[in-house]
Amino acid sequence: MLASLWQQLSDSPVPIDSVDLAWAGLAPVMILIGGALLILAVDSLVPRRLRPGSYALATVLLAAGAMVAAVPLWQRVQDAERGPFATAAGAIMVDGFSVFATFVILSAVILAALSFDGWLRREEMDGAEPYVLMLLSASGGVMMASANDLIVMFLGLEILSIAVYVLAAMHLRKITSQEAGVKYFVLGAFSSAFFLYGIALIYGGTGSTNLVRIATYLSATVLGDSGLVLAGLALLLVGFGFKVAAAPFHFWAPDVYQGAPTPSVAWMASGVKVAGFAGLLRVFYLAFSTYRLDWQPVIFVLAVLTMLVGSVLAVVQTDVKRMLAYSSINHAGFILVAVQAATAAGVQAALFYLAAYTFMVAGSFGVIAVVSRKGDIGTSLDDYRGLSRDRPVVAFAFALLLLAQAGVPLTSGFFAKFYVITAAIEAGSSTLAIIAMITAVISSYVYLRIIVAMYGAGDDVPAPRTIPLPAAAGLALVISLTVTMSVGVFPGTLASLAERATPVLIPESDPGAVDPSGVPPGP
């Protein structure tokens, strides 16, 4: 009987068309995932014998390695003859956009890892898990940026999110951290469900989850005749809106930012947001460009709400982490302004903003991580009084980063806002541009409050205290400051990189793929 079974198996091998994988295109993701596994394995094999800081070092090296692996990809997609390509049966797209976003996400990993090192030691926590989670989370982010299929997009989003939920709840001795994690998780799952539902509806409406096919199908049919597609679009927007903390899906952000460990917040505010916007641009700007007139007004409203909430509510906060949480909501609104333009200039402005913003915000939260005290407390505005005396260099760097967030010239923040507003005006959205600038003025008051607290003199300055500055955190600060200031003086390099980082839609190059969605949708 066994023999006959064997006979049967070897006689009729089930034919499967294998998928061509361009491994080079997947290299950054593979390095991140493989590195995470490696760290995990090493951590379990050599318990507590490694020098402190070696995990942070490993994470930085892995992220840098992934960057190195992405350099040939950039050269390839910029090459006129070879150009961008799709791989893995059209599920993954490697183009200028995805590689650019990969670089930004990896920079955020490096900055957050450097910030984590000293923080974990101060909180007397050890282990490799935070780094592993961050690497996994980053792999999800890179997947989102290069997803060419809504399923891949969703999985990337989930990998990114689940790791971040845990990073938020990681401080086990701090109840607000636990609370932040649970809140983020519950609401995140809620919005993920909507996202998934949206994918299902779009599949129902277009017959595919592949962005290229969706775009092809939509351009061949009459605009706006499909309620399913439009409903799906609305639900996808909910999922992305939640991840980038756009109003009215922003409620979690202040609570979570305040409670979560500060280095986790650095990652949340930079890497997660970059990935969310990369996904948003890919889906809306590329795949649903034919529905542009339908989604542009929605993004318009979201952008206005987000910027207003982010700037107005930031003013009433007394906790620096909460202030920056709202300010990051305001930044998200600014990037939505660029998305709303739905032009090449808009995409470029959004990418520039994301890159500049990543360094500003990761650096700022890095400073908060340094200034706070054991137990991750001491983040209220009063704790910043007299910082210019206790740690003049840190205070100065923080002031510069805050000024950059306010969009003061000669910092990268100025040009980020400049490009966004130029793109909006070119696209005919002057109203949005003006609202954006008003909110920028309002939120500049918030940054000023922090700076005044740091530099203010008077009776309410507390007694001097020593604030240890771990070397790794200092390095992160130097990196973010250098990038922020040098981009502020010479924005041309980054701007031209962002200009060449165009997202494209190309059908998959491997012909062997099976089309899983052969059935066209209903009438």
């Binding site: 898990e129 845990v166 099976v514 089309d515 059935v519 009438p523």
Partner: protein
Amino acid sequence: MVAQNVFFYLLAGIILFSAFRVVTSNNVVHAALYLVAVLAAVAAEYVLLAAEFVAATQVLVYIGAIIVLFLFGIMLTRAKLGSDQDLTHPHWALSAATAVVMFGVMGYALVDQFHWTATPLPADTRLVSVDGSNSATVSDSVFTAYLVPFEVVSVLLLAALVGAIVLARKD
């Protein structure tokens, strides 16, 4: 087809009744058990639609995993298992309105797409494959078109696993 229709409406009735009891029951455990009924009946509807793979997944994932998780959660966090009057939260009316409106717009979207016309079950041989089931098709596409997503799911599980360990271990 008549038998199919009869069973459809029977199941639909069970779903509606149970779903209503989920939100009105005063006992959390009862609510969870009503949810089991909803999910099981939905699985049965999938069988009626010849989507036995989805039906099996529904039973495995929702009833087998999620509801069990719910019950564990209830047992671990709440000492009191009897009826409980303050389960309804103050904004229930707004939530209900939101749900009704959502039902309306989603229903509208479906009607707009399919216009009350009956869509025949797929005749495509690749969906209802050689041996009469669509599981084979699903498995084929998992190893071809959806190879990367399938592999990526394992990364997702890994992240969840590591996260669970981080949160669960004693400090």
